[in-house]
Symmetry: C2
Subunit: 168 residues, 2 copies
Amino acid sequence: MKLTEAKQQFISSWGAFGTHWGINRTMAQIHALLLVSPDPLTQDDIMEELNISRGNTNMNIRELINWGLVDRVLLPGERKEYFTAEKDIWKVVKQIVKERKKRELEPMLQLLDKLEEVEGDKRDKHVKSFVDTVSGIKKLGRQADKTLDTLVKAEESWFISSLMKVFK
Amino acid sequence: MKLTEAKQQFISSWGAFGTHWGINRTMAQIHALLLVSPDPLTQDDIMEELNISRGNTNMNIRELINWGLVDRVLLPGERKEYFTAEKDIWKVVKQIVKERKKRELEPMLQLLDKLEEVEGDKRDKHVKSFVDTVSGIKKLGRQADKTLDTLVKAEESWFISSLMKVFK
DNA sequence: TTGTATTTTCAATAAATTTTGAAAATTCGG
DNA sequence: CCGAATTTTCAAAATTTATTGAAAATACAA
């Protein structure tokens, strides 16, 4: 397979992959393109490679920067902005985990705390079932939260070798 | 907070949560409703509680059954079908991990295997950058695959206590 | 400054996804 | 079987989400 074709397949399936994870297709595709590009690219490079409009490109680059996955690069003597993606996949994973934990897991745990204190007689099976479910989710959620905290701080090599021992 | 309100909040935020994970709102809401219901419900119960159409209800229940998260229950002497959700959250998580691994991670790893064999001179920085990125993702992906395999087989108590030791 | 290159915004449009509801298919007691 | 109850299907409609492109804002060299 030629590089051009391989690159396109990679970008396209990274885009499809993203849609299963709440990330829009274009954002994932731009990320994929930057991941495999040896040098920083401009907005125009990205527009051309992916055949998307200027506005779309701009918004999604901005979003990738918010996620901490892409950085602006200023090349000396160049007027245009260049963009580059973090290439260390372990760092990318940690960054995504960190953001999603903050945006999704933590608010959910806060809500569950409130919901667990629902009024009513625990002998009522409707109340009991609700409280039991909420408690169960909360317990696992808190565990996940702690585990992910540690993962976010971990070095790749340490992480992998530790897991190898536990999950032998 | 009253049970009715708490239930609605739970269902609604579980639905929103789902949309960040590639699951549609209604499917997640039906799942949430069944999770907190002490007894099995019929399609009509679900339609009424969530204010959704029969077709929508039916399709999403079917999808939840495909995911192994909901079971059909036949009550003796009743013509209608009843539905119930697995209440053990650990089992729910394992089931979801198992399905997503099969549907998303494994196909991605297969693709990366192919893409890694791209033609071209490794001294060309474009080729090198592509191969390095793909290899990096593949390596981490394979590790995740193994880890998740073990997780899927694990008991909750074992899982939690092991992780507590590693991530001290 | 001023003029031009570049980036950003956002209302309008397009595309994708979800939902509806009525018709068709199926199930099952009598 | 028959017929009513129940489930399933799916084309059309509604809704949500993504994309465009042109205008406005900004940045910067001269």
